[in-house]
Structures are given as C-alpha cells and as structure tokens.
Symmetry: C2
Subunit: 284 residues, 2 copies
Amino acid sequence: MTLAVKHLSFNSGNKHILNNVNLEFEPGTIYGLLGRNGAGKSTLLNLISDRYPEKQGAVTIDGHTVHDHDAQLQQMYLMSEVNLYPDNFRVTKLFKLTQQLYGEFNWDLALRLAKQFGLETHARFGKLSTGYRTICKDIIALSVPADYILLDEPVLGLDANHRELFYQELMNAQAERPRTFVIATHLIEEVSWLLNHVMVLVDGHIKVDETLADLTEQAWQLTGPKEVMEPFINQQAVLHQHQFGNDITAVMMIAVADIPAEVTKQKINLQELFVALTEETHEN
Amino acid sequence: MTLAVKHLSFNSGNKHILNNVNLEFEPGTIYGLLGRNGAGKSTLLNLISDRYPEKQGAVTIDGHTVHDHDAQLQQMYLMSEVNLYPDNFRVTKLFKLTQQLYGEFNWDLALRLAKQFGLETHARFGKLSTGYRTICKDIIALSVPADYILLDEPVLGLDANHRELFYQELMNAQAERPRTFVIATHLIEEVSWLLNHVMVLVDGHIKVDETLADLTEQAWQLTGPKEVMEPFINQQAVLHQHQFGNDITAVMMIAVADIPAEVTKQKINLQELFVALTEETHEN
C-alpha cells in the first residue's frame, strides 16, 4: 500500500506555494518533512489529506484518488496546527468523535497517554494551553486506526520532557502496529533519530527525498580548487554550492569511492545539510 | 520604575494554578520565565497584564495598581499564544492598530523586520501559518513603545534561522532602547545567553528567582554521604534532593567557599538545573 503524490502544484493568489511535487510514502516508514517557515510543508500536508480541493496534480492510495473518497481519506489522519475541534468539547468527547469518524479508537493507549502527559480528559479543548492542545491532538493521532498519520508540528509548545515522551511513545506505537508517519517539525536534531526517510521542501520544491541511511552514508561537503571541482560536481546532483576565491565548496550526495583524492571531504549531518540547503541567498 | 507582583494567586475551578507568587521586574533587564507545560507561565503573564480580572493579590508599576488603569497597562505589552487579532486584518493594519493603542510605533523597525523575516505585510493575519503569526506578533512586540514586554513563547513554530534572527533582533532592540523583557519559552538552551535573570515556576510556585550571574556562579550539584550532607543541606535553600543508598545528591545555590571538602561538587547549567527542578515525582 503506497500513498503517492503526483505533479502536485498549488497557488495562492498569484504566488506559487508548491511546484510539481512528486513523492511516495511507503508502509511502516517514518518520514521527516523539513523546510523553513513558509516553504509549503503545511500546504503539502493539507493537500495530501484533501483539505484544499483546488489543486493541480493527484494524491492516490494504491492508485485510487483520495479526492472526495471517504474510503481513502479514512486511511489518513492529519494532526495539524489548525484547531478543527469545537472549543467547548471536552477531551473525552474528542476521543469519542474520532472513534465515530474512524470506526475504531485505541482507548487504552489514549487514556494511558493522557495520564502520562498530565492531560485532564474532562477539560474543554478551548481551555487547554497551546502545549496541551498539541498533546491532545498527538494522543488522538497515535490512537486512530489510520495507516497514514500526518503530523504537522507535533511538538509545538511542548516542554523538553514532554517532547522526549512523545518521541518515545511514537516509537512504541510504531513497534506495536507499523504505519506511515510524516512528521513536519523545526526541531530537526531532536527528531532525526526517529526518521527512516527525509524530505526537504525549499520554496515549494522537493530538494531532498532520501532514506536516512543514504543521507548518513552519502551526504558530503566537498571542498577543492575550481579546476578539480567543476568538471566533477557538474556530473552530480549538487544540493548546495558556493565559491570562495578559487575554491568551490559543494554539498552533495555521492559514494565515498567516487570522491577524488585531491578533494577535502567532510561528513554532514541532517541539521547541517538542512542549513546548507536553506541558506538565505537574498540579502538581509 | 519597577513592576511588582505581590501575593498573586489564581484558581481555575477548584484547581490552584498560581499560589502566592511574589516577583519584581527591574528596568532594562531580560527575564526568562521557565516552567513545564501546565506550570502556570501563561496564566502568570495574563494576570500581570490584567487580562484575567478575578485574582488574589496585586500587580503594580511603581506602587500603582495596573488593574483597570490604562496609564499603567500602556506601559506593558503581552505577546501571547492567544490570537487576539481579527483574522481578516492585514499585517499593516495590525501595526496601525497598535500605534493607535500605544500612541507610537517603530515603523522603521517593523518594516525592516518584516522584510528580514519574509513576512508579507499585505497578508491577512488569519492566512498566516503558525510560524508567521508568531513572527508578526514578535515584530509588534519589538516595535511598541512599552517598557515591559511580556513574550509568551516568542519562537513558537519558528525555524532555526528565524529563531536565531529573533534572538539577535531582540538584543539589538534592547541595546537601542533598554526595556524589560519577560520571555516564557521551552527552548531553554537556545535562549539562555539572552537572559539576565531566571524565574522557574513549578506547579504554580516560584522555585527559582535569581540573576543568571548568581546561578552561573552558585548553582551546584553536591553529592556525599548522608551524615555529611544532611546537617549541611538543612541550612541551605535546596532546590532538589534525592538519596541513593547512603548518598544524598542535592542541587542548591551556595558559594563555593561554603562547600565542605568531603562533598563531590559539580557545576550545573540552566538546562540541567531546570531538569532537576522539574523532574517528575509521581509515577508514570
């Protein structure tokens, strides 16, 4: 079972928010969806779960479009920054509502997590702090029976202990019933150990779509004189490049065996890769 | 000019949210207000700025109560998680509205910051992402003429580059016109270099109220046999304490000269201090 995004584009007014995005999400895999503020992460997650109808391109599960198709949409759950829940509903009522919409709900897990996070289940959603609203939505996201769980900023407003607890419980949930998670977050270093696969959005384009294993093994920052680097990097998918005097520095995916001996090479971790990819090119 | 909080308590239903809080905020000082989710940080900031009228205790500026007093309230600005702004207002209209309410507004700064953060000033507030709503509110907070700026989660939803830019611009603003900032945040390590003074809320009580200089110099984690530690730590303000077998470990504020030679001492930074103070005591 695969969730596929094909040639997806989206404009708001005369502004291109997403531009020809193509992605596949495999079962049992945890994806990190990374990008700067305004890169289009939330728009992409909203489009995938059919919340914005006016789009170009398609979103399918096993070849069937999700657009207006309840059977496909029921396989997905989007935990988003937007609070869709009525403010006067109590937490338990939100759990019941989710059960009605999705047919099932893991009450044991939800009530255990509520206790662990200190979420009062009789509290009204509208009375919760930002952190506890996030916690409430996270608990629902881990307790729905859907196979594709899209998490837009799942640690927004959470303190360090609660963030750690959430990451741990997500891994527990995944071990118990493997599903697909897509996590959009700005706390990259914290989350990187969870991820199987990384996607980076830059200005509405997908710039990186790689397994974490490939990134760990093949993401290098290479520096060398222009005459050595230039013919060499033109043959490769360069993620980022800049020049100081006669030296070129390039961030790229490459097998270590293919790096010429006269080039200085340095491993680059996910956070560093992200910074290199999203460096401001305009003046501030 | 001093902002003082005296014997402040607040209940919600039959739950004590804040319990006899006493604090003073001095001019030109940057305070960090730290605490777990649900500790009462937002409630405290809302009470200080008179948004919740039903409270016990008092909030004063130079001895004059702020309650229902516009002259005092105009010296304060609360940037909060709650979006008070009408969704259909454009960013520039929010700037104008703030100018009307506060008499002045630093347009040069606000427009420069909007450009640097990539905030579109003609966008409607309701159409902004979580990150850009925070950015919009931060820009207003840095541009109002008030002397007490209360920031409730000023980096909520901001990417790493934008967080760094915000911290830097806050320091620039402070250098240009010193004022009092109170920053409530969960990203303690990132923010600690900004702070002059730290307050830690634990379950509605103030557990730490110290200058960063004192914390840096005097916060120690001490370990030793019970018979050495017990008489000694009873004389001091212990922040946290636990026992393994015959050994006691205590986190406390103490001059290094006052630590007995037979005690093992270890410096503790702000993040470690916070973790020690807020460790769960109940079972999970």
